[in-house]
């Protein structure tokens, strides 16, 4: 992973979405992140993307999203769109490698919208219920 690779990934993601939707979309920022709980991943902050776009083109988007995450050494185990609550605006696409404490919050949720601001595109269920380290 280096900055050039990240820059290229941002541009490629943007081009891919534009080609798919046939109109302009802006990936305003592509970030790698690490949280104190242990979760980590990538966030693509979006402008011009709507929930309708994601719902209609989910099948086409997912393979690319998985490939992109893998190219940045992030296992694409959980991919979701973060929405501006109560609206159709997609604020970001997130690729999150869930820690053992956060995993159950999402894995136990039913449906694609466990919260008003989250639309789950893909989640890989784990066997068991998380590690001992984070229990309690």
């Amino acid at each position: 992973m280096n900055a050039e690779k990240l820059l290229q990934a941002r541009a490629d993601l943007e081009n891919n979405l534009r080609a798919l939707l046939g109109r302009a979309v802006l990936v305003i920022e592509l970030d790698l992140f690490a949280l104190p709980c242990g979760c980590n991943g990538i966030t693509a902050n979006m402008r011009g993307l709507e929930l309708d776009d994601v719902e209609v083109f989910e099948e086409q988007m997912l393979p690319y999203f998985k490939k992109m995450a893998a190219s940045l050494d992030i296992p694409p185990s959980f991919i979701f769109a973060r929405l501006v609550p109560g609206s159709s605006v997609v604020a970001a696409i997130n690729w999150r490698v869930l820690c053992d404490r956060c995993y159950p919050e999402f894995a136990r949720a039913r449906g694609k919208k466990p919260r008003p601001d989250i639309y789950i595109m893909h989640i890989e269920r784990r066997e068991g219920r998380g590690s001992e380290k984070r229990k309690g």
């Binding site: 050039e4 820059l7 290229q8 941002r10 541009a11 943007e14 081009n15 534009r18 939707l21 046939g22 109109r23 302009a24 979309v25 802006l26 305003i28 402008r47 011009g48 993307l49 709507e50 501006v84 609550p85 109560g86 609206s87 605006v89 604020a91």
Partner: protein, 348 residues
């Protein structure tokens, strides 16, 4: 054209020094927001200058022949301004600003217009967020005590209305030249009310994503004609307004000084070669997406001066969009290129 330029800065002393040392001779007045602890503003704030900071910066500006304006243009104070506690607090703060030697103070609330005009030495300016868009409204604000009115930018290309306002009042008129907000944008009132609370006295809403911003940007990404129709005034075109006013305000108090200086140079020299998006205040994110050569728009003002803005019957701005709006692809990589927007967009 001889003109008075009001120039923004984020409110820190280093920024003011840089601005004045680089271009003090071209600046009539600088402006910044006050402290959000008393009266908020209709924009986001990068700083919260306290009374002593304001005093020090005002003295510095005056020493260099530049006037100081403070913007307190909250569009919603939740009625607190009308309570005895709110009145006393606001009045105390305004007194302190007056003592600092502030030249002009910008407010959006008519109640504050009247209060300040009556009780203080500093001149009161009616904010762009009072949406003065007719001679009648301008007259009413003048009656309340306004010494200057920043007109609703939605009127910037309605010359008949601008002339009527000019004829109706004696006070100074000011035009905001580079706001890139949507023409007749549906989000304006709600967005400025939100900002007024988010950047005003506590309690402040803890909002992660600003819906109005996202939606407004999104609409322009989908349809950049909305950038063309937004009522900015090109640096070359401000001379067309000579019969209305010689006072112009540059927007952008959340930008770096270098950006402000670039804008200031353009409006001082009344010419700009480059991407129009670089001198528009509001949609700064979109300068990484769209390229619109300012030069390509030479002469379009002649159409806009006569345009009733019934876009469905016209198509002029759509034509400009198809011809002159370009889009970056591969941004930030060695393959970065510009593509004509109309050639890539399915909905063009």
């Amino acid at each position: 054209m001889k003109k008075k330029l009001y120039v923004p800065y984020p409110g820190h002393f280093d920024g003011l020094k840089e601005l004045i040392s680089e271009a003090g001779k071209d600046i009539y007045s600088v402006y910044m927001a006050g402290s959000p602890d008393y009266i908020g503003t209709g924009r986001s704030n990068l700083s919260a200058p306290q009374i002593e900071d304001i005093r020090e910066q005002t003295e510095y500006a005056h020493k260099h022949g530049v006037k100081m304006e403070i913007v307190l243009n909250s569009t919603c104070m939740g009625g607190r301004q009308l309570t005895p506690e709110g009145f006393n607090l606001n009045h105390w703060y305004l007194e302190k600003l007056d003592e600092c030697g502030i030249d002009t103070i910008v407010v959006a609330d008519p109640y504050l217009v009247e209060t300040i005009a009556r009780d203080f030495d500093m001149r009161v300016v009616v904010s762009v967020l009072s949406f003065v868009s007719s001679p009648q409204k301008a007259e009413l604000y003048e009656e309340l005590g306004a010494s200057s009115i920043v007109l609703d930018p939605d009127e910037n290309r309605h010359f008949e209305v601008l002339h009527a306002i000019r004829d109706a009042v004696d006070c100074e008129l000011k035009l905001l030249v580079n706001e890139g907000c949507l023409y007749q944008g549906p989000f304006r009132y709600a967005h400025f009310n939100f900002f007024s609370h988010a950047f005003g006295p506590p309690p402040r809403p803890n909002v992660l994503d600003d819906y109005y911003h996202h939606k407004c940007i999104s609409m322009r990404i989908k349809n950049p004609e909305l950038i063309i129709t937004s009522p900015w005034i090109r640096p070359e075109d401000i001379r067309e307004y000579a019969e209305i006013t010689d006072v112009f305000k540059i927007g952008g108090r959340t930008h770096y000084i270098n950006w402000v200086l670039n804008c200031l140079r353009a409006y001082t020299e009344e010419t700009y070669d480059g991407n129009l998006m670089n001198i528009l205040d509001c949609p700064k994110e979109l300068r990484d997406l769209f390229y619109i050569s300012n030069r390509d728009l030479d002469g379009v003002i002649d159409h806009w001066k006569e345009c009733p803005m019934i876009c469905n019957n016209c198509g002029f701005c759509k034509e400009l969009t198809d011809k002159f709006v370009y889009m970056y692809t591969g941004g930030g990589t060695e393959n970065e290129a510009l593509t004509q927007w109309s050639k890539m967009a399915v909905c063009a």
